[in-house]
């Protein structure tokens, strides 16, 4: 799996040498890199629209890597995070992983392992963004439905037959069929199963 071409690796480490060496290493792997000397500088210039992943030092003066991870969650920025650390601190690793980190890599690191994890992270970001895109799309389509069509859709998805929907809504079965056809057309769902999956994802999704 290849990362999308514009995906960038964002490196945040307060140690200039680590930052610069890591930057050179990633560039030698043909990865676009941007470096930041603190969590705050990264946040200040953070564009949620940009795809990529974060390589984050855990311990930094000011805001730590873990705090940055929390802050990104709070801001609903779902960029995958790989932690790098000089400390084999289990408690920190557990917390980082629980909060969705890709991995917790000890310094000094093996370039192969790092490359693997970064590729993994970029792929995850791509998938996330793609599914988020689809979700957004579905939401937009569902928003096009009229209140009546929405009512019909909710009941169909819940598994009710046209006849039952017609009785409960006090409509003719024919009218329900027309609404149902409009729902399928507006949402772009090719089948009932697709429509169900779309609505379920929307209800379960973070947004």
């Amino acid at each position: 799996m290849k990362p999308s071409t514009d995906a960038t690796v964002f490196v945040v480490d307060d140690d200039a040498a680590v930052r610069q060496s890591l930057s050179l290493l990633l560039r030698s792997m043909a990865l676009p890199v941007e470096t930041f000397d603190s969590a705050q500088t990264f946040l200040d210039g953070c564009d949620p629209e940009r795809s990529g992943c974060l390589v984050l030092d855990i311990r930094m003066p000011g805001m730590s890597g873990l705090e940055l991870q929390d802050e990104l969650r709070a801001r609903d920025i779902a960029m995958p995070v790989i932690f790098i650390t000089g400390h084999g601190d289990i408690a920190m690793a557990v917390r980082a992983m629980k909060h969705g980190a890709i991995d917790f890599i000890e310094k000094p690191f093996n370039d192969q392992l790092l490359l693997e994890r970064i590729n993994q992270a970029l792929e995850l970001d791509r998938v996330n963004r793609a599914s988020r895109g689809a979700l957004e799309d579905a939401r937009a389509r569902i928003a096009l439905l009229s209140p009546r069509e929405h009512e019909v859709m909710t009941r169909i998805v819940a598994g009710q037959a046209n006849k039952v929907v017609a009785i409960e809504l006090g409509l003719s079965e024919r009218t329900v069929e027309i609404h149902r056809a409009k729902v399928m057309a507006k949402t772009g769902a090719g089948s009932l199963a697709e429509l169900v999956s779309m609505v379920t994802r929307l209800e379960a999704g973070p947004e």
Binding site: D14, D15, A17, V18, Q20, S21, L22, L24, L25, R27, S28, M29, R59, M60, P61, G62, M63, S64, E67, I84, G86, H87, K107, P108, F109, D111
Partner: protein
Amino acid sequence: MNRMPAPVAYEELLARYRGVVEAAVDAIIIIDETGMVEIFNPAAERTFGYSAAEVVGRNVNMLMPPHDAAHHDGYLRHYLDGGAPRIIGIGREVVGRRKSGECFPMDLAVGEIEGLVPRRFVGTIRDITTRRALEDALRQREQEHSQLLDHAPIGIFAAALGGRFVRVNPALCRMVGYSEAELVTLSAAALAVEDDREQIERSLAELTGAAKQDCQCTLRWRRRDGETINVSLHAVLVGDAPERIIGQVLDRTEQVRSEEASRDARARLAHAGRVSTLGEMASAIAHEINQPLTAISAYAQACRRILDQPGHDPAVVVEALEAITTQALRAGDVVRRIRGFVSNRESEREECDFNEIVQAALDFATIDLRANQVRLHVDLAEGLPTVLADPVQIQQVCLNLLRNAIDAMLDLPPAARHLAVTTAATPHGAVVRVADSGPGVDAEMRERLFQPFQTTKAEGMGMGLSISSSIVGAHGGTIRYADAEQGGAVFSVEIPQAVEHA
């Protein structure tokens, strides 16, 4: 005028010399061969307290104490019978008796006035009471001085201007293991060990050259048995035209040894403190070394990848290799700093730049500051006086304060952890202040702050401030606590400046 004098009668003789006799300062008494006083001059009257009238015509033995008086007639007869003279023509010191009955020492010279019949003797007398008293006093003083010298617990000597001993007391002999006879062939400089000889020679030269009133120095002497002793010597010039040096010598060997022993003990304790500190910092130090290692590793892996790429830019590789060197040196610096900090070396005072010491401690503490996300504000004053200190020990004290400050702030959110380190000149030296934004020290703890085994930390031994206090004390400095204005603690350490050498 060398004609022979014509024989004269006794009375005529008396008349001729009466003036001389009467004016004489010494008492003059003339007796006849039976011992009867014929002439008793005014000086004799003053000496004996009798008037001439009371004495003339009476036996001269009335002027003698009983024992002499009883034998005087006998002595006289013995002489007249041709016996050997006891006093006559010789003179001696005898005892006289005044009218008051008081006996007194006197010089007596007796001569016979020749050619007279009956034979007559003239005695001249000088009261030597005062002289004798002076002599006695002198003798007694000399005796006292000897006693003082003999029993003095410190070494005392008199020396010639060149420094050669002329007189030494037993304590000095014992101190250096030489006999008095041997010592008077030596000098204060000759006893000095090679390294100290020039110093004492110069001091004595300044003294005899009148460049200084006295000379005070501490030096090492070599005993006769080869042992070295530490002495402090104080010498002054004596005499109107100075011709002698008088000196006192204290054996400070024991004192020096015990000072050395306590300095060693303090150094060992301080070292133990540093080792323990390093132990506590091990994880942070590992991190500090790990950073450059990480950079080195990443640069090296990058180089490999770049070299594999066709048409790569060699300049990029060269730059990376240079960065690797820099990072290797950085790791080496950390190791060197640690080694310097824990090496078990002798405590040595040297003239140091105070800010450099504080900066070294800050470099060390950076590890902890970073790990604990403490914001550091540093303000080191320029133009601080040079301090006389063991730089590693003072660095240890500063590091201890920094680490305490960090520990005190761990319960605060990272954004509230502020540490300010400032240095300033003081009237006597230089001071470093470490101010944190923690909770400060409560009143009860404050009193025991610098005592051993006082701690508020779960894993602390409570030795840090105690060791710091002992180090600072040994430097003649002070360590203090104060509340910060916005809460928090301020610890300050003042170290005296190095005394400028003349």
